[in-house]
């Protein structure tokens, strides 16, 4: 074991021991038995300095700790010291497990048959557990931060509202704007491709625009196209147009000189060269823009709704529910937006892998 692992193991065991002592002296023994059992086992883990323990033992301890902490939240109010020590101990065991497990996995091996996924999942679950335990155990006002369980319940109970908002913002504004913006950027890139003059005029501007706070056009679009989704789609079109333009133009120039000379020796026409060489070679660039734009589109649509909407839409819901201090609903919308954004991105990545399978960045993964 490395220095860090020794230290973590010692700390985890020590915290368990202190927690156990606190737990035994405070209150009746049969109260929160699971927590105490976990702390006892955690203390026992100190035998690892005599008998080696596998890292799965740490995983089991972390799991037991998580379960005992989650079930223990409701028992006391306010939560006693040993509850928090148990939380810290389970966090430390999880950390120790991750630390030891990642040494076992071959370095640089990204996905060891799904095993590589365990670590980020452990991390994500740990965050949720700590969030839940702290917000409920310490009675954090839910206006500041509601516990995940409450957000989950809110999602489950407001599916019709969330679905209507999703439909309004994502299915209408985002998707339509995204398709139009990306399509336009692509077509304009193809059109100006034959004119070096236009290219050298538009490209620096395109690069400049990508650094500008374009979401600022939202109020103008709302004024021009009204409160409903077309104004949001218009913002999305403007936001996604330039990344697509710049990337496609760069991609069309990505084919190497030799590859182009080859087409010339075949006396290939402009369109033959475009279709058979330059567009396929531009694929990785175009997908790069599609991925950047997937995030930009969602941001654009949501922010544009801050400037006025009919009474539906994710951005509308977020800004009004914040005003009413219904923070759990805000988090529910954000969760939906996060899932929508990740799935959107994920789908594009999957398509990218199918289409640009030949590119080293995809081949290597």
């Amino acid at each position: 074991m490395s220095q860090l692992q020794y230290f973590l193991a010692l700390l985890a065991g020590g915290v368990s021991l202190i927690g156990l002592v606190f737990g035994l002296i405070s209150g009746p023994l049969e109260q929160a038995l699971l927590l105490k059992a976990f702390l006892a086992l955690g203390t026992l883990s100190l035998v690892r300095f005599l008998v080696p323990l596998g890292f799965w033992a740490d995983a089991a301890l972390a799991f037991l700790g998580t379960v005992s902490v989650l079930t223990g939240i409701g028992i006391f109010s306010p939560a006693p010291a040993f509850f928090w020590l148990a939380l810290v101990a389970s966090w430390l065991f999880a950390w120790l497990f991750v630390e030891r497990f990642s040494r076992v996995l071959a370095p640089g091996w990204r996905d060891s048959g799904g095993l590589g996924l365990i670590i980020p999942i452990v991390f994500g679950v740990a965050i949720l557990v700590v969030w839940e335990a702290i917000t409920r155990g310490a009675n954090v006002p839910q206006v500041i931060l509601p516990p995940p369980s409450m957000i989950g319940a809110r999602i489950a109970s407001s599916i019709p509202t969330l679905w209507a908002d999703f439909q309004q913002t994502f299915l209408k504004a985002v998707l339509i704007g995204y398709l139009l913006g990306c399509g336009l950027g692509f077509v304009v890139a193809i059109l100006i491709d034959r004119s070096p003059f236009l290219k050298s005029g538009l490209l620096p501007l395109g690069n400049l625009v990508s650094a500008l706070p374009i979401v600022g056009v939202a109020p103008i679009m709302v004024m021009w196209f009204g409160f409903d989704w077309p104004s949001k789609a218009a913002v999305v079109v403007i936001m996604t147009f330039f990344p697509m333009l710049v990337n496609t133009v760069a991609g069309l120039n990505a084919a190497s000189v030799i590859e182009r000379d080859l087409m010339r020796t075949y006396a290939a026409s402009y369109w033959q060269t475009l279709m058979k060489l330059r567009l396929p070679a531009a694929g990785p660039f175009i997908f790069n823009a599609l991925k950047i734009n997937s995030t930009l589109a969602l941001i654009g649509a949501i922010v544009a709704e801050f400037f006025g909407t009919p009474i539906v839409g994710m951005g509308f819901r977020i800004s009004t529910e914040v005003g009413r201090m219904n923070v759990d609903m805000v988090w529910a919308e954000i969760a939906v937006a996060a899932v929508a954004g990740s799935v959107f991105y994920g789908v594009i990545t999957l398509v990218e892998r199918r289409v640009t399978f030949w590119h080293p960045s995809v081949r290597g993964a």
Binding site: S256, I258, E259, D261, L262, M263, R264, T265, Y266, A267, A268, Q272, K276, L277, P280, A281, G283, T356, F357, W358, H359, P360, R363
Partner: protein, 262 residues
């Protein structure tokens, strides 16, 4: 013998920010049908530029150049040559057979014609069985063989090869050289071959054009009298070594006066 390539007082000057660079100066050369001509010289001597001029990838600034009696541009539009570059330049998104099919698609061959030619040329370069592989799944030598197959696919009589084996190791190179000779014998094509390896030039060629830089020009043209049938160990015979010595002499003569220049 009719001249496939004929250059008269050919000159080419590149204009760059640092002034003019004379890449070719007063080049006179005749290449007959069925010949195997190597161009050899240090970098900057214009051997690649000359090949590219034949291929209409560069435009001469003086003199005349004909390919099959036509201008290089007409010859290119007639698809009268196949070009093999320094790198395989296979398209990574196409399988080997699709790469060989590329010129055939562009030139409008029908699907059955394409299939027949792909099979024939891949067989010629010993790549049968690798049709469905992608270029990045093959070794460098196999990739370069595939690119030769691609240049052969549309049956041009002239094959222009620009240091095709330069990036490969010695053993693979020897192997490909003897394969190339066999291919040449089997097809009777005219081949122009750029190299900077003396043994390679002597081993392959019926004619060796020695060039020298600043300005790029032809300093010697050596007709090789080696037999057309050449096993690899011909490279140890006195005849071979004599020609090699003459090539080396020519290279040294062209290079001596500006030794030390970068």
């Amino acid at each position: 013998m009719t001249a496939v390539v004929s250059a008269r007082h050919l000159g080419l000057t590149f204009r760059t920010n640092d002034g003019d660079v004379v890449a070719l100066s007063d080049v006179d050369l005749e290449i007959g049908k069925g010949e195997f001509v190597s161009f050899i010289g240090p970098s900057g001597c214009g051997k690649t530029t000359f090949l590219r001029t034949i291929a209409d990838l560069e435009q001469p600034t003086s003199g005349t150049l004909t390919v099959n009696g036509q201008t290089p541009e007409t010859a290119r539009r007639d698809r009268s040559y196949g070009y093999v570059f320094q790198a395989p330049a296979l398209y990574p998104w196409r399988t080997i057979e699709k790469n060989v099919a590329l010129p055939l698609e562009i030139m409008g061959y029908s699907a059955p014609q394409q299939a027949e030619r792909i099979g024939r040329t891949l067989d010629l370069v010993n790549l049968s069985g690798f049709e469905k592989k992608f270029p990045w799944q093959l070794s460098g030598g196999m990739q370069q063989r595939a690119s030769i197959a691609r240049a052969l696919a549309f049956d041009a009589d002239l094959l222009l090869m620009d240091e095709p084996f330069g990036a490969l190791d010695e053993i693979v190179r020897d192997h490909l050289n003897s394969e190339l000779l066999k291919l040449w014998a089997a097809t009777g094509k005219t081949i122009c071959f750029v190299t900077h390896s003396i043994p390679e030039a002597v081993y392959l060629s019926t004619k060796i054009v020695v060039m020298s830089p600043r300005p790029g020009r032809v300093t010697d043209v050596i007709e090789s009298d080696l037999p057309r049938e050449r096993p690899l160990d011909i490279r140890e015979t006195p005849e071979f070594l004599a020609i090699a010595a003459r090539v080396r002499e020519g290279l040294r003569a062209g290079h001596s006066y500006d030794e030390g220049a970068v």
